[in-house]
């Protein structure tokens, strides 16, 4: 399975990772990152990845020395229906150049790599507006809709307050990601929402 990864940090270039469709827990497998070859073992139970670069392609996986151990604290993927792209949040300790590695955070977008197709963003509902990554606004939080500050059809500026969701004793203000028209409001005041639930749909502010 070829997967295209784009890290969110500045200057990061897309890479294509080729991983086997079937991976047995803790068993070695070959993986290719933009042509660089590794032997890896992934243990879900231990939450740990071990990799070693393959210097001689003819060498058997079990013969590889110098394995790097990468303990993973948390790996989460957010992917919504109808969207090809997912966001991966990873917290782990990567091998360091010198000295022991330190825990770090990584965020990347991932999608199936299909040769000839460029990386696209956006979900159902057509072409996203300028500056608008996604026409669907989803709740990042499980909580309760305290109030809704816009009406359907309204055109709002980037950063304009849209609604407030209460969770864990905190009031969380959700703001417009760009200048958009509110095409539809999918929740009512007082409703309980789960993370991932659709809150609103946007359209381009200019027709």
């Amino acid at each position: 399975m070829k997967i295209q990864i784009i890290a969110e940090r500045k200057g990061a270039k897309p890479v294509v990772v080729d991983v086997p469709d079937d991976i047995t827990d803790s068993a070695p497998f070959h993986v290719d990152v933009d042509g660089r070859k590794y032997v890896a073992r992934w243990s879900q139970r231990a939450s740990s990845l071990v990799i070693s670069p393959v210097t001689d392609p003819a060498r058997e996986p079990s013969d590889n020395p110098a394995e790097y151990s990468i303990p993973v604290r948390s790996m989460r993927t957010t992917r919504f229906p109808g969207e090809s792209e997912a966001t991966c949040d990873i917290e782990c300790v990567l091998p360091a150049g010198s000295g022991p590695g330190r825990a770090t955070t990584l965020r990347a977008s991932a999608q199936r790599f299909i040769p000839g197709l460029s990386h696209t963003t956006g979900g159902p509902g057509g072409r996203p507006a300028k500056g608008m990554r996604n026409p669907v606004l989803r709740s990042q939080i499980t909580g309760k809709v305290l109030n809704i500050q816009v009406a359907e059809g309204a055109i709002v500026d980037e950063g304009a307050p849209l609604l407030v969701i209460e969770a864990m004793k905190m009031e969380n203000r959700i703001v417009a990601p760009a200048k958009v028209r509110i095409a539809a409001i999918k929740v009512k005041q007082g409703a309980n929402v789960s993370a991932g639930d659709e809150l609103m749909r946007f359209e381009a502010a200019e027709a």
Binding site: M1, I3, I5, A7, K10, V15, V17, V19, D21, V31, V33, R36, Y38, A40, Q44, S47, L49, I51, P53, Y68, I70, V72, R73, S74, M75, R76, T77, T78, R79, F80, P81, A86, C88, D89, I90, L94, P95, A96, G97, G101, R102, A103, T104, T105, L106, R107, A108, A110, R138, Q140, I141, T142, G143, M168, K169, M170, N172, A195, G196, D197
Partner: protein, 518 residues
């Protein structure tokens, strides 16, 4: 073994502090009573307690803040004392009186001390009279903008207006010029009435970039009292503390001792008993002012326990049962350095948005001088009804530099699957030069937001292999959403939360924030 006269203590709280208090009760040979809401029915504190009592309902107002319901629990279980923990009813004098009326002891100060210190104007005036430095400002509620203008004439701008009954960073307004005084006073009075039921507002000089330093005190009911040195809690976001440490890198030994003596004097003036904390606002080591007194145990008490060796919860219980403090001031020695990091179920990369949910896999760090206070267990579901703090990591070492190295090591070992946490904030913080120097104010996180945001996006320092390892992990994470694979023992066993998720439609299921079932 147990010398305490208490036989059965009810813990009127939940989460990690309920676990902390119940552990201590066990060590004292005292029976523990847990109360729990419907949202907490599979909580760790029930498992550890000897007796449990259900408080019907999910929201705090119906359960942990419901005085009649907790009084029923006291009577039904025959508890002879109540530990309130922190938050909820811990600083509610009416609750302390209701506990006494139910025939049980309230483990904390008297209702009179709680009321006195809860009124910020009265507390400030008492401190001034006692000779404790206070921030220059008004000593009575403000009625008009002109009255405040007169005070501004003496103290200068900026000024801060505060609700006399306020707390937690609410009901405050900073004013920088005469014209803004009228509207600010109106708004502040309205908020004070809405949030605290009391429109009284006072004003004082606003300190722009302060440090937050607090002193732990402990008094018995026989007139003996000690301080247990300071905690520096300057790393805050919107008045919520994220890291606390002792000693403060800001004070030298003589300043430390002087501030401790000031705190003992202040608590004595209030006729205080049991454990309490005096919070100070620090402009410079020479300009340190009384801010408020917290009449309860605090979240960050383990920092003080670690550097002094005193079990504060144990002393709270013994003092409330009438025992004398087993030590005096000269016995309290500060050894080494300790730091507490709050692990909250919040995503620092998304504006600290709360993130309740299931934690399929959980491993806390271990090794010497590491303590974790938490109510989580593998498979626990963090409810959305309550505070987001789910664990406290407390680390100690002889020096601050060694503490920081140990915290970095410990964070790397910690495994919390399923939900984002403030652990990633702490990792970024531990790389910030100002924090490493011990040079931060309460405005630090706000001022350095851009720096933190860049860190949250990720940093890879190990060259090509680290870069590729990161990409492989992202690919494995993505693969898990496209390929559900065979059921693991965890999914086969299932939990209620998981069953609910699997009975939803596959679309709805896919829409949830998915985690690899590790």
């Amino acid at each position: 073994m147990a010398t305490s006269r208490f036989k059965r203590v009810l813990v009127a709280n939940r989460g990690e502090i309920a676990v902390r208090v119940i552990r201590c009760l066990k060590e004292l040979g005292i029976q523990s009573v847990a109360v729990y809401s419907d949202a907490d029915e599979s909580s760790m504190h029930i498992r550890l307690a000897d007796i449990a009592f259900r408080l019907p309902g999910r929201v705090s107002a119906e359960t942990y803040l419901n005085i009649p319901a907790i009084v029923r629990a006291i009577k039904a279980t025959g508890a002879d004392a109540v530990h309130p923990g922190y938050g909820f009813l811990s600083e509610n004098a009416d609750f302390a009186e209701a506990v006494a009326a139910a025939g049980a002891r309230f483990i904390g100060p008297t209702p009179e001390s709680m009321r006195l210190m809860g009124d910020k104007i009265a507390a400030k005036n008492l401190m001034k009279k006692t000779g404790v430095p206070v921030v220059p400002g008004s000593d009575h509620p403000m009625e008009s903008a002109d009255e405040i203008k007169a005070i501004a004439g003496q103290t200068g701008y900026p000024l801060i207006l505060k609700a006399a009954a306020g707390g937690g960073g609410r009901g405050m307004r900073v004013v920088r010029r005469d014209e803004d005084l009228g509207p600010a006073l109106d708004a502040c009075q309205r908020e004070a009435l809405a949030w605290f039921g009391n429109p009284a507002v006072f004003c004082e000089r606003y300190i722009e970039r302060p440090r937050h330093i607090e002193i732990q005190v402990l008094f018995d009911e026989h007139g003996n009292g000690v301080h247990l040195f300071e905690r520096d809690c300057s790393v805050q976001r919107r008045h919520q503390k994220l890291v606390e440490e002792s000693p403060s890198p800001f004070l030298d030994q003589s300043q430390r001792e002087k501030l401790g003596e000031t705190a003992v004097k202040a608590a004595r003036a209030a006729g205080y008993t049991n454990a309490g904390t005096i919070e100070f606002i620090c402009e410079s080591p020479e300009k340190i002012y009384f801010m408020e007194m917290n009449t309860r145990i605090q979240v960050e008490h383990p920092v003080t326990e670690t550097v002094t060796g005193v079990d504060l919860i144990r002393q709270q219980i013994l003092v409330a049962s009438g025992e004398k403090l087993p030590f005096s001031q000269k016995d309290i020695v500060l050894r080494g350095c300790a730091m507490e990091l709050r692990i909250n179920a919040e995503d620092p990369a998304r504006g600290f948005a709360p993130a309740p949910g299931r934690v399929p896999q959980l491993v806390f760090p271990a090794g010497g001088n590491i303590r974790v206070d938490s109510h989580m267990y593998p498979g626990y579901t963090i409810p959305s009804e309550y505070d987001s703090m789910v664990a406290k990591l407390i680390v100690s070492a002889p020096t601050r530099a060694e503490v920081i190295a140990r915290v970095q090591r410990a964070l790397g070992e910690m495994q919390i699957a399923g939900v984002p946490t403030t652990a990633k904030f702490h990792e970024a913080l531990l790389r910030h030069p100002a924090f490493l120097r011990g040079d931060v104010t309460t405005r630090f996180i706000e001022e350095e937001q851009g720096w933190f945001d860049a860190m949250f996006a990720g940093s890879v320092e190990g060259g090509q292999i680290a870069e590729d390892a990161a990409a492989i992990l992202a690919a494995l994470a993505f693969r898990a959403t496209t390929n559900t694979g065979p059921a693991t023992p965890e999914t086969a066993r299932g939990t209620r939360a998981h069953d609910e998720a699997t009975t939803r439609s596959r679309w709805a299921d896919a829409a949830r924030l998915e985690s690899m079932r590790r």
